[in-house]
Symmetry: C2
Subunit: 378 residues, 2 copies
């Protein structure tokens, strides 16, 4: 629905939490924010298209403080962490990260966090936009588990793009090169130890730094900014074009509590055969036996630029609705509209023709490979 006459501003208060880096990115000129986990998350700096090309060609610092951690520590931490996710965490070693779907007892998705084992009895869930803190605390209270659960003061900074490693190495030293994908190491900035993971919400490669001190964080921000000048570093943020092309789904938009991990494209992260006690796992097993009837696909939408999609757009084939598009945007590189959506399982083959009801009218469309062609530059 594209009815906005003008673009409403975001009213920023204490409740919509600022971050240690807000002053930096606002001086640079952030164009748009969203709210994510009750915190500011930039969505645009110089237009989504210019930001996109810059991310693919250079390097960006992202203020992703809103990737809040839910920390679980104590004697029952491993038991509760496993209950919270349908992924088998038994082999998650210290220093490892794992995409760990969190489900309700009916198997429906509450979150698609990254679980991080910080120590034997200490876990972080790096959550998407829902108060998983309260879910975990409610369960622990109801079951009288011996754990502490809280949101630590951690504000992740990401460095993303093809020159990210160069920048990280200049600030943290050569040791950073050894950090493997989806693992973290403790690196030092000045004398301050920081967890640094090779991860991030783009297909361009990069790192995420778990800043645990606001003052150090601002110094780090400035050091990264200085080190990246020779590569044209700029503030950036998760980019709508880039993440759709990479097939990165947003919880709340592309996947919701109406989906289990099976429909949500996360079947490979479910311990279907694991002997574990995980909330929702039995429900997902039953669903897996029956087989799913819809799946997430990439869809290219013909015609010129589609408007912003605020609501799912119906996808039509053979005269009836067979799914919906949940995220869509014009790709200036592919010169077509790229989108993610859910369609009935019989319509998921690449090349399948369909039509999409956009607010601007019906468009022809077809299923695309995901990632979209050339999504990654490395």
């Amino acid at each position: 629905m594209g009815w906005a006459m003008s673009i409403p501003a975001l009213a920023i208060t204490r409740r919509t939490r600022s971050t240690p880096f807000s002053s930096r990115i606002e001086k640079f000129g952030v164009e748009a924010y969203t709210i994510y986990n009750h915190m500011l998350l930039p969505t645009r700096f110089r237009g989504v298209e210019e930001d996109y090309f810059h991310l693919r060609e250079s390097v960006q610092i992202w203020d992703v403080s809103c990737q809040r951690q839910v920390e679980i520590v104590g004697p029952d931490a491993a038991r509760l962490a496993q209950m919270l996710t349908v992924r088998d965490l038994r082999k998650l070693g210290i220093g490892r990260c794992a995409l760990a779907p969190v489900c309700d007892e009916d198997g429906f998705l509450l979150n698609d966090p990254v679980a991080i084992r910080v120590a034997e009895d200490r876990f972080w869930f790096s959550i998407s936009d829902l108060d998983i803190l309260l879910w975990a605390q409610g369960i622990a209270l109801g079951m009288k588990l011996d754990v502490k659960i809280f949101e630590p003061n951690i504000w992740p900074l990401a460095v993303q793009g093809p020159r990210a490693e160069d920048v990280i190495v200049e600030v943290f030293g050569e040791a950073a090169r050894a950090t493997k994908f989806f693992r973290f190491d403790t690196l030092t900035f000045g004398n301050h130890p920081l967890l640094v993971a090779r991860s991030g919400w783009s297909a361009q490669g990069g790192f995420e730094i778990y800043v645990d001190d606001a003052e150090i964080g601002v110094q780090l921000y400035d050091a990264l900014d200085a080190a990246g000048q020779k590569y044209g570093i700029r503030p950036g943020c998760p980019n709508l074009i880039e993440r759709i092309e990479a097939g990165l789904m947003t919880y709340g938009t592309d996947i919701t509590r109406n989906d289990t991990p099976l429909e949500g494209g996360m079947a490979q992260y479910v311990g279907l055969d694991a002997d574990i006690d995980a909330i929702g796992l039995n429900a997902i097993r039953a669903r897996a036996k029956k087989g799913i009837d819809r799946a997430i696909v990439g869809i290219t939408i013909d015609g010129d630029k589609v408007p912003a999609n605020r609501e799912p757009w119906p996808v039509i084939a053979h005269g009836k609705q067979i799914g919906s598009v949940t995220s869509a945007v014009w790709s200036p590189r592919l010169e077509t509209n790229v989108s993610l959506g859910q369609v009935a399982i019989d319509f998921t083959t690449v090349g399948t023709q369909m039509s999409v009801e956009t607010p601007d009218g019906v468009r022809s469309a077809q299923v695309s490979p995901v990632p979209f062609p050339g999504a990654s530059t490395h």
Copy 2:
């Protein structure tokens, strides 16, 4: 901190849910939104000052769809509802509403919802901005309670202002006049029954309508709009000036999880002597015995208009910090800055002098009565 060079837009997606009324208010020209319970909430239409005078003099329709309900129904509903709040709900009759603080086991506030008993075994918690749904579901799961808990499809519309009753009566009939403060009745619009409460988040009087059908809701919106034309009705929203003057606190801004209901000015809603099983109540009892060391007060801040306050501003007396201001704005009626904040208990007397460190510099300030003088017009 007032560092923004320009005012960032809000990026609106499926995740930041639109409401059945978004098309109406955006056509009218909403200036700013916030996100509240993962949903759009307007914060300004024609500037906060013009909106303020209009609310005090006329009547406004508010899209407060973001006042999401957590519905609890089933054999254990009354037991769980009581566990969720430290208010004694035993005498909450059907058709009654009660401000019902929700606390964690240490007595700290998770929410300041209105609890509504819709039927003997059916409760709504009309929540402020936190996923109490997950808190309630986690507890129910951990305790294996026999309840269903969900977010029903209800989008509240408020009609607020001195002419609100006239408009409501024109649309719902004379029966609406009999609805008492903080109670609801079932009134009909067309043939559609709707819960209508005499309530709302202003001191100007008015009603809240619990719209349970999006299509009917839009018809109702248009009917209210038509009925209110003779009074100059306009779209509106909770107004920063009006709510500070009325002493209406925002959870997440003026009160947080760092406060129990005692520091949060809600002692009268705590069943300190009630024989009930409520999460956090024992912790609050222990705290009440010791006595609290800070309280929420109104503060007038001298000088010209203060900037938007995004972070708490330190309040200083006798050379040391004794509290902070959490919400502040210029009141064009009182011709001073009005604010809410927390200060040490020795500094709560009306007239007490202090100073406030705003981003624009230190200002002299003094404790004001709350509500502020002339806050209400009825």
